[in-house]
């Protein structure tokens, strides 16, 4: 277990700036998720921690020691790769035992440890097989077992679940979470799946174009997104974002008129989550428009309505039915959170 610190770390490929100068502290025992769309620099950041990518400038500290120039093998880390990176010419048991073999552990102890680890991820029956004889989920578990067979200072996981089917992904997610709880090892996890990030993380760092735009607990990121990018990225279905203006203490946009706190100004984007809205009777409803789409998800129906440029979505009851283009009205639920952003800078406007 160890604390990881990135101090003014920067990564350039020639003249291309992949990750601009930034600092980040990953606390001991923390499960930190680097979240962002592809090409945002999250994997590069992780690979710098792993030692697979040189650091152009700044310091990487692992457990208080500068690790910039340490080769990966001396950093005492374990990593799960997106494509697993198994050794195809070795059996499952040899794959899992390889890190131990490299550390000169004798055969007996090694075999016992491999057995023990295999049980943890339910691979006992497959130890003699080769990776090519395994399914995707099984390969993923081998990669995981290889990472946890010894107790490293840090776990690094690079989209470990992205090659699995949706169902398996959910099961493995729970297993990862449990494993982290059990081992308590500092973990850095890269993903572009906001759901994975929200469920797994102690803290989430949302990255965009190489920069961390917000670093906070999943709860905080959900309830107080720092800017429009985070607001739109987190949550499913994503937050409703409506462009308009504030006049006389009300936010005004086509079909929307809501009381808000804040001085009068134009170029404002109002954000409200679908789950913070509800369908209401027509009348003096703050949001009105024509029904645009109905999507049944099983336990509820996603209702989208439109009015001019405004498009707003909410969750309605599963049995909600209405013809398309029918007039439709919405109101915030009591206690609903309304977010305001500056349209130009994208920054959150705090009341």
């Amino acid at each position: 277990m160890a604390e990881v610190q990135l101090v003014d770390v920067e990564k350039r490929y020639g003249s291309f700036l992949a990750v601009p100068k930034q600092s980040l502290t990953i606390e001991e025992g923390e499960f930190l998720v680097l979240l962002g769309p592809s090409g945002c620099g999250k994997t590069t950041t992780m690979r710098m921690i792993a030692g697979l990518e040189d650091i152009t400038a700044g310091d990487l500290m692992i457990a208080g020691e500068r690790a910039n120039d340490k080769p990966p093998k001396d950093r005492d880390i374990a990593m799960v790769f997106q494509n697993y990176g198994l050794y195809p010419h070795m059996t499952v048991a040899e794959n899992i035992g390889y890190p131990l073999k490299l550390r000169g552990m004798d055969r007996k102890t090694r075999e016992a440890r491999v057995q023990e680890t295999a049980e943890k991820v339910e691979l006992q029956a497959l130890l003699k097989r080769r990776p090519s004889e395994l399914s995707g989920g099984q390969r993923q578990r081998v990669a995981l077992a290889r990472a946890i067979v010894r107790t490293p200072k840090i776990f690094l996981m690079d989209e470990p679940l992205s090659n699995l089917d949706a169902k398996l992904r959910v099961t493995m997610r729970a297993e990862l979470k449990h494993l982290h709880h059990e081992l308590g090892v500092t973990t850095v996890y890269v993903t572009h799946d906001q759901m994975e990030a929200m469920t797994l993380a102690s803290r989430v760092a949302i990255m965009r174009e190489g920069r961390i735009v917000q670093l906070d607990t999943p709860k905080k990121i959900y309830s107080e997104p720092a800017d429009l990018f985070v607001a739109g990225f987190i949550g499913s279905p994503s937050m409703n974002l409506v462009e308009g203006r504030i006049t006389g203490g009300r936010f005004e946009a086509p079909g929307v008129s809501l009381p808000v706190a804040g001085a009068d100004r134009g170029d404002v984007v109002l954000g409200i989550r679908p789950e913070d809205l509800q369908l209401t009777d027509p009348g003096a409803a703050p949001i009105s428009g024509k029904l645009y789409a109905l999507e049944l998800t099983g336990d509820s129906t996603l209702v989208t309505l439109r009015n001019g440029r405004t498009s707003v979505c909410t969750r309605g009851p599963a049995d909600f039915e209405a013809p398309i283009d029918a007039p439709c009205t919405l109101a915030p639920k009591p206690g609903a959170r309304i977010h305001l952003f500056d349209k130009q800078t994208g920054q959150r406007l705090d009341a």
């Binding site: 697993y84 050794y87 490299l102 395994l134």
Partner: protein, 271 residues
Amino acid sequence: MRKTVFWWVERGLLLLISTIVLFPIAWMFLTAFKRPRDAYSLSLDFSPTLSNFVTVFSDPWNLGDMVLNSVIVASVTVLIAVPCAALAAYSFSRFRVRGRKFLFFLILSTQFIPAVVIVLPFFLMFRSLGLLDTRLALIVVNLAIVTPFVIWMIKGFIDAIPTDSEEAAMIDGASRLRVIKDIVLPMAAPGILTSSIFCFILTWNEFLFALILTRRDAVTLPVGLVSFRTERGDLWELMSAAGVMITVPIFIMALLIQKHFTRGMTAGAVK
């Protein structure tokens, strides 16, 4: 299944090409088992004999010495060229060094020089060194010819290996050399074996340098063939017997390559 016109055209062309390629070889094999008086006849009706093989291995031809020379020269060349080439290929494939592309081009460019152009300088060089008519000279020359080619070939195989497994091994605690030994070599093994056999074949068949640089002691099989052109005329049946001795090992190796070529060792590494 109905056979289309295309099917017939395809088979016809394949048959034609096979015949053109294989006919001389088949003819050589037949001649090797013919008696001298049958050697010039086109008839397939002859009583086969092994006497040609006995003759070429005995005085004055002594094909055995040439077989030994060829085996030593080709084997030693492979044993030196392949390990060096494998390491060079790995470096070219994985390390982003400044000038890497130019260096690689430089190495390949040695293959563009016609052998005839450099054979004379080599002759003069080895004469000064007193190495004419030695196996060592042939090995040195063959190394120079074959190594760039093998580097290029093995690099192709290593390029095809995903880096994920290597990176995983480095993180698991392996040094770069350990990664090469434990991960890269086993995964590239079919490719390296294929390249080795290719390298062996190239050296085995090399003619021009062996012709110029050897005389009596270090003569290799291809050069030995020429000695069957005597003042009594061309001894086709003996030449064919020697030809069989040259080609059979190569045939066997080609079969081996084919088997390993299709094995696909990298399956299961990723995804």
